[in-house]
C-alpha cells in the first residue's frame, strides 16, 4: 500500500468515526424534537416522525391557563440574573483580598476553599432546609438565590483569584503612585482587566439555576415559585409517560437558548477554566 492510499484510508476512517459520533449525538436530540411534535400526549403512541405533526404542545405551554411554564421561565430568569450579579461581586471581593493582600488566615482560607468545593451540595441540604425555615425564606426565590450565592464562593473564588494572580502587581503600584486607594485599584485595575474570567463566572452562575433541580426541589414548594428545571421534572415525574410530549416541547424551549449561549461562549469558558484552574 502506497503512502498516499494509506493516508486516504486514515482520513476516511476519521471521517467515519466522526460521522458515527454525529449520529450518536444527534439521535437523542432529534428524537426529542420528534416527540414534541407528536399530536398526542402519551409516549406509548408517539412516533419519531409523526404523520400529522403539530405545534400544539408549544402552544399549550404558553397559552393554556393550566400551564405555569411562563411563570417558571420568569422565576428562572430572576434567580439566574440575581445569582450571576451578586456572585460576581462577592466572589471578586474575596478573590481580590486573597490575591493582593497578605493577612492572618489567608493560607488556611485558601486550603478551606479548595476542600469546601469538593463537598457535594447534598451534604448540606437538610441543614439548609432547616435554616431557611428558621429565617422564613423557605419556598421563596430569595432563599434559593442566597443558597446559590453562598455555595458558589469556594469554587469561583479560587478561579478568579488564580486569574487575578496573573495580572502584574506593577499595575497596582503604578495606580497607587497615581493616588488610587484599595478601592481604586480594585475598580479601575482589577475589574476591567479580569473581565474574561468574571464573564465566565457570571455565565456559570446564570446557567446554574436553569440546570439544577435538586436544590429548588428542596427549597421550593408551591408551583408558582418553581424554576424551569423543577417544573419540568415534576411534569415528567408525576405521570411519566403521559406528559412526555409536553415535557419534550418544554425541554427544547430551554435547551435551545442555553445550547446557543454555550456554543457561542465555550471558547471563553475553556480558556477561563484552564487559565484560572491550572496556572492559579
Amino acid at each position: 500500500m502506497s503512502r498516499k492510499t494509506k493516508s486516504r484510508l486514515e482520513v476516511a476512517t476519521i471521517y467515519l468515526v466522526i460521522f458515527v459520533m454525529f449520529v450518536i449525538i444527534f439521535y437523542p436530540l432529534l428524537w426529542t424534537v420528534g416527540m414534541s411534535l407528536n399530536p398526542g400526549t402519551s409516549l406509548y403512541a408517539a412516533e419519531l416522525f409523526p404523520d400529522n405533526w403539530t405545534l400544539d404542545h408549544y402552544k399549550w405551554l404558553f397559552t393554556d391557563p393550566d400551564s405555569d411554564y411562563l411563570i417558571w421561565y420568569k422565576n428562572s430568569l430572576i434567580v439566574a440574573a440575581a445569582n450571576a450579579f451578586f456572585s460576581v461581586i462577592l466572589t471578586s471581593f474575596v478573590a481580590y483580598a486573597f490575591s493582593r493582600y497578605r493577612f492572618i488566615g489567608r493560607k488556611y482560607g485558601l486550603y478551606a476553599f479548595l476542600l469546601l468545593q469538593m463537598f457535594p451540595a447534598i451534604m448540606a441540604m437538610v441543614a439548609i432546609y432547616i435554616l431557611l425555615n428558621l429565617i422564613g425564606l423557605l419556598d421563596t426565590l430569595t432563599g434559593l438565590i442566597l443558597v446559590y450565592i453562598g455555595g458558589q464562593i469556594p469554587f469561583n473564588a479560587w478561579l478568579v483569584k488564580g486569574y487575578f494572580d496573573t495580572i502584574p502587581g506593577e499595575l497596582d503600584d503604578a495606580a497607587r503612585i497615581d493616588g488610587a486607594g484599595h478601592f481604586g485599584v480594585f475598580f479601575r485595575i482589577m475589574l476591567p482587566l479580569a473581565k474574561p474570567i468574571l464573564g465566565v463566572v457570571a455565565l456559570f452562575n446564570f446557567m446554574a439555576p436553569f440546570m439544577d433541580f435538586l436544590l429548588p426541589r428542596i427549597v421550593l414548594r408551591s408551583p408558582e415559585n418553581f424554576t424551569l428545571a423543577l417544573g419540568l421534572f415534576n411534569f415528567i415525574n408525576q405521570q411519566f409517560a403521559n406528559n412526555f410530549t409536553r415535557f419534550a416541547a418544554g425541554s427544547i424551549l430551554i435547551a435551545v437558548p442555553i445550547a446557543v449561549v454555550y456554543l457561542l461562549s465555550q471558547r471563553y469558558l475553556i480558556t477561563g477554566l484552564t487559565a484560572g484552574g491550572t496556572k492559579g
Binding site: 479548595l114 476542600l115 469546601l116 432547616i130 475553556i270 491550572t278
Partner: protein
Amino acid sequence: MTKQGGEVSKGKHSPVFAMILSAILAGLGQIYNRRYLKGILFIVLEVSFMLTLGRFINYGLWGFRTLGVTPMEDHSIFLIIYGLISLILVVFALGLYVLNILDAKRNAERLKNGEPNPTFGETIRNIWDRGFPYLFITPGLFMLTFIVILPILFTVSLAFTDYNQYNSPPGNLLNWVGFENFKKLVTLDTWSQTFFDVFTWTIVWTVVATTMQIALGLFLAIMANDPRIRFKKLIRTVLILPWAVPAFVTILIFSAMFNGEFGTINRDILSLFGLKIPWMLDPFWTKIALIMIQTWLGFPFVFALFTGVLQSISKDWYEAAEVDGGSRWQKFRYITFPHVMYATAPLLIMQYAGNFNNFNIIYLFNEGGPPIPGKRAGGTDILISWVYDLTFEINQYNMAAAITIILGLIVTGFAFYQFRKTRSFKEEGNI
C-alpha cells in the same frame, strides 16, 4: 498605669503585664499602653458582645450539650443549630481576643524600645490598610459560614445522634450516641452488606465512567485535530453539543429512550436485531446504560479542553521526533499525552470527583433503581443517591449523615492528595 503618660523610660514598660491585662479584659492592656481611645473601644465592643449575645451563646451551648430536656418544648434539631451558631461565634470571639492580646504585647514592646505611639491619623490609616482585606472578605465569609460551613457541621453532628423516623423532634428528644451509627454501618449485617455493595459500585462507576469520557474525549480531540481533516469548526461545534444541552433534560430523555417497553432503544433500534434488553429492570443493564449515558454527557467537556491544549503544542516537538524517526505511537506517548495531561490534570481530577458525587444521573435516570429485595439501597445507587434516599425518603437522618461523613472524607482526602501534586498548589503553599 501608675505612671504619667510619656514618663515611662525606655525598658520599663512591660509587654507581659500588657498581655495579662488584655487577657483579663480586652482593652485594659491597650489603656496601659496609653492608647486610651482604642482601649475604651475594645472594652465597649467586648461588653456589648457579651450583653447582646451572651445569653444566646449560653443557651446555645447548653442546648448543644443536652439536646433539650423536655419533649415538645425543646426542639433538639433547632438546639443543634443554635449550638453550632454559638460555637462559631465563640471561635470568632476567641480569635479576636487573641488578636487583642497580641496587639497589646506588640504595642508594649514598641513602647519598651522607646518608640512613640502612632498619632490618631496614623492609627486610622493603619486600621484601614490592615483591615481592608478583612472588609473585603467579610460578606463572602458570612455567606460561606451560614450556607456551606454551618450545614456541613450540622450534618457531622447528626451522625452522632439517634435522629430517625421513629425518634424525631419535637415529640422526642435526640441523644448523643457517639460512634454508634458508624458501628452499625460496619457490624450490622443489613447495613454493612448494603454499604459494601453501594461503595463498590460507586468506585467502579467513578473509575469506569470518568475514564471512558476522558478516553473518548482525548481520542476525538486527536482525530478532529488531524491537519488533513476539514470542516473543523463544524465538527467541534457538534462534538460539544451534548455539553451545551442541560444535563437534567438529556438524562430524563435518555430515561425515556431506554424504557424497556416503549423506549426507542428497544422498540426502534434493538428490535432490528431481534433484541429486547430490560434496561430499567436488571441492575446490570441499568449500570451499562448509565455508563454509556455518562460517557455521552461527559466527553464533550474533555474534548473541548484537550482541543485547546493540542492547538498550543508547538510543532517543533513533532518535527524533532520525526527527525529522530519516532513512530506515531511514540509521538503520542511522549509528546501529546504528557502535554495534555500536564495542562489539564486538576480539571480531570475534578471530573472524577464530580462523577463520584454525580447524583443527577443516578437519580434522574432510574432513581437509583431497580430496587433489590432485601437490600436497603437500589441496584444502581451510589453513595450520594443512597444518602438522598435515606434522608428524604425514609428519614434515616443519622445513618445518612454517617455515610455522608465517610463520603466527604474520601472525596476530600483524594482531592487533597492529588491537588498537592499539581504545580499551582505547590506555588501557593510556598507563600
